[in-house]
Amino acid sequence: MAGFYGIDVASRFMIGTAGYPSPAILGEAIHASGAEIVTVSLRREGAGGAGQAFWDLIRQTGCRVLPNTAGCKTVKEAVTTAQMAREVFETPWIKLEVIGEDDTLQPDVFALVEAARVLTDDGFQVFPYTTDDLIVAEKLLAAGCEVLMPWGAPIGSGRGLNNPYQLRTLRAHFSGVPLVVDAGLGLPSHAAAAMELGYDAILLNTAVAKAGDPVGMAAAFRDAITAGRAAFEAGPIEVRDMAEPSTPVAGTPFWQGAE
């Protein structure tokens, strides 16, 4: 079981809800992922009331929602968006994104820490989307965050873990803190590798939503995340430079012939 702000979840897969071919496929993909937490967003509502239908669909999944502040570029925007999200989604949870640059969608860690402080003081439970910077992580915890979500690679890039060393360092330093790799993964093997490092969960969207078969890919990530966690708990073998026979050598037929 992983736990976030006192909420235990059996699934370590948090899935995004954006960019699917259809609402029906979104629903099936969420189901296939086994996720108990889905990310959602707020957008300007027009006359059509498109948001209402989407919200009904999400509620039917029975999943807990984690609203994001995607697209916000200042502390003020992020804070107000979070406040609106809390009212609409009736949850203190917020995935805090404050984007600093458009090509990489990299977090602005300065604005991020400040917004995290403001929101925590206002009673929010913040899930900060951050880099793999150790000092920034410490400041986010000092600001009251009880979860950290470092990136694997830029959002939507599908590159996997750009800096496994730094992610391993983060894990070693914050052994008690729930860590979630958020963004940049493209393949289940990327997610498994992150979990093998001891991460608590994976959050992703594009790799599933934009796959040829989103439902099949959602199941693939579900299994890979389960596998990576199980491996972490089972205690992997040490890497060796030389080979070691799996089949015992003793008693090999024609032994003398082999000498």
């Binding site: 960019g19 300007r44 498109a50 107000t80």
Partner: protein, 65 residues
């Protein structure tokens, strides 16, 4: 009077934020609002008087990553 709703200029007869939402057909809809960049909670909408030039945000749940 002229205000801005979701980034677009809009001529409204509404006096309060609550009235504006009705005028726009959002009665009973799951939406949140902000006035001039500040969050305006559901409970406060009836007392929130609109002024010319006000910038109103009306948002609803949408897909997100």
């Amino acid at each position: 009077m002229k205000i801005t709703v979701n980034g677009a200029t809009y001529e409204t007869g509404a006096v309060t934020l609550a009235a504006l939402l009705s005028e726009l057909g959002h009665d009973g809809a799951v939406v949140a609002t902000a006035v001039n960049g500040e969050f305006a909670g559901r409970a406060s909408r009836a007392e929130t008087m609109l002024r010319a030039e006000d910038e109103i945000e009306i948002v609803a749940p949408m897909q997100g990553g």
